[in-house]
Amino acid sequence: MNAEPTTPSSPSAQVRVRGPLDRILAVLSSFHIACVCFALVLILTFVGTIYQKETLFGLYDCQRYYFESWIVPRVAWPLGIPLPGMALVFAVMFVNILAGGVLRIRKSKRTIGVVISHLSILGFFIAGAVSLWTKTEGHLQVNEKSENSIVQSAMDWVIEVRELKSADGQAPQDNSVRFIKDKFYRDCVGDRTRDFTSSVWPFTLTVGGYVRNAQIVPADDPDLGSKAPRDGAFAILALSVKATNEENIGGARVEVKDKSGNRVVSGLSTALERAPIVFETGGKRFSVSMTRERWEVPFSVFLDDFRAEYYPGTRKARAYESDIKVRHSNGNESNHLISMNNPLRDSGYVAYQTSFDDKAPPGEEKYSVFTVVKNRSDQWPLYSLIACTLGLVIHFVYKLYLFLNRNARRQEPQAAKAL
């Protein structure tokens, strides 16, 4: 994989260390780095898999802690041993392969297959990085004989701030709904707070007292600790964090201060609140609420019919499918069947059948749930795989050709002697 000069027959054996750039490339393409990275990949995969079962982390946290992080957070260190995250390991591997398998390797017809294979492996890394940073995934729940176009994240909470009509009915100046992702306030627990500002807000929003699995209770509830976030008649009771992250309900305390630093309003906010906090400052009205991260897809899904087949005598579904109509804003409408291995692909989104109203008696299911994914690099691993296969085929065919050629050359003198 790497171009560390090894044996005289190695394609890269003729590479010689010359200037500082070569020295840097020599370090970056080192086999030692590659070996350490492979070992770390093995360790992270093992720990990340085992900890899903043996601790309270669950799938979501293990994914975040081990496979999507640069450094494994302290809470997830196995046996107290610090580890780099998979993102860092893969970033180093990317540089290692790029330096060794693409830049330092001698380019000739002998190595063209190897270079293609290395480039295609870099394609896998790029696809993973694009997916990690840009992929959106959420659930679209549609009731029978109704339609929906709003996808809701199963995992992430946001604090949404929206400008409303003014008290005298004037339309808002800023039509966008601004939102703060939970990665920005996840660490605001206990007394720690963080201020959020925007060029279009005449105020500062302070978020603190974040609780990952929150329940709103009366402020005089005897189960509350002395440090529980409180506001008015209510407080946030921190429940134990569930291993299945979808079951956790986030909550926090928010406070709005005007430009002079005077308190405008404060309150608790959880994802289960029935209405947002509404306030007025700087001559404008706003709402603040915590909600699951939501976005709208450019089409709506109308659920015509949902069908499920169950294993005999059980409530366990064997197969389920939905007849849907996809409606676009230009009036176009098309019929589709979404089943377990037959997703809908439309406008860059892929909608998979993933769940349904499994609490209803068979035949009376009221809604269907689709997982809607937008991933620019969706097909890139496939392209990389094809390129990798092509590179290896070129390399092996070339090697076969050399082998046959060499054998033929060896046999020629023997044949001449025989004559």
Binding site: K183, T197, V217
Partner: protein, 206 residues
């Protein structure tokens, strides 16, 4: 120091320094409002965290000495008071006719082992102001047996007192019932009056 170790140290320092967001963050994420997004209504604190529909329908002021208690099916706005929370007060909305005023008063009386009221006796009951109307109020004492369905079970409680009002509204019967040891209820009568006077319809959330 080997080059590989130096490289690891530089990378670790770089990534560790970028771990925590700063104390002030400029909000850059935004989305367009959804196609059918309606503006939210202003809501009271109680409406925002309502445990049930009834809590979204009313505004009220909790007397200072009372403690909010998690709502249950027939205790939709629920309080406790007293040194060991032995006093209870709760508001219930019974959809439909809810058996009517007389039937509910008679059910309460039965919990004290009393006979049902005779015709005309309900009309003769004293009244309290509740939700802007004069509504009949019941005040009875004795041995209280709330029944096996109630919290605390069917153990009779001696020297207990009940004060409550029932209002018949279009499509519903609204009851407020306060029970507890006689002396405690005597002391809490003013709080009950204040609570009844504070209950008003809340702005519609829709």
């Amino acid at each position: 120091m080997p080059a590989i170790l130096r490289l690891s140290l530089v990378l670790t320092t770089f990534f560790l320094s970028a771990c925590r967001p700063p104390d002030t963050v400029e909000v850059v994420d935004s989305r367009e409002p959804f196609r059918d997004d309606r503006e939210p209504a202003e809501a009271t604190e109680y409406q925002r965290f309502a445990e049930n529909t009834t809590q979204t329908m009313f505004q009220w002021t909790k007397p200072q000495d009372w403690r909010g208690v998690k709502a249950s099916q027939f205790r939709e706005i629920n309080f406790a008071f007293g040194p060991s929370s032995e006093g209870e007060c709760y508001l219930t909305v019974l959809a439909g006719s809810g058996s009517g005023v007389a039937e509910n008063f008679n059910r309460w009386r039965a919990q004290f082992g009393m006979e049902p009221m005779k015709e005309g006796e309900v009309a003769a009951l004293p009244t309290e102001t509740f939700l802007g109307r004069m509504v009949p109020a019941l005040d009875i004492s004795g041995s209280y047996n709330p029944g096996s369905m109630s919290p605390g079970g069917s153990v009779p409680k001696a020297e207990w007192r009940l004060v409550g009002v029932i209002m018949e509204a279009p499509g519903a019967v609204i009851t407020v019932k306060m029970t507890g040891p006689k002396a405690l209820i005597e002391a809490e009568q003013e709080n009950l009056d204040a609570f009844l006077a504070s209950v008003v319809p809340a702005p519609n959330l829709r």
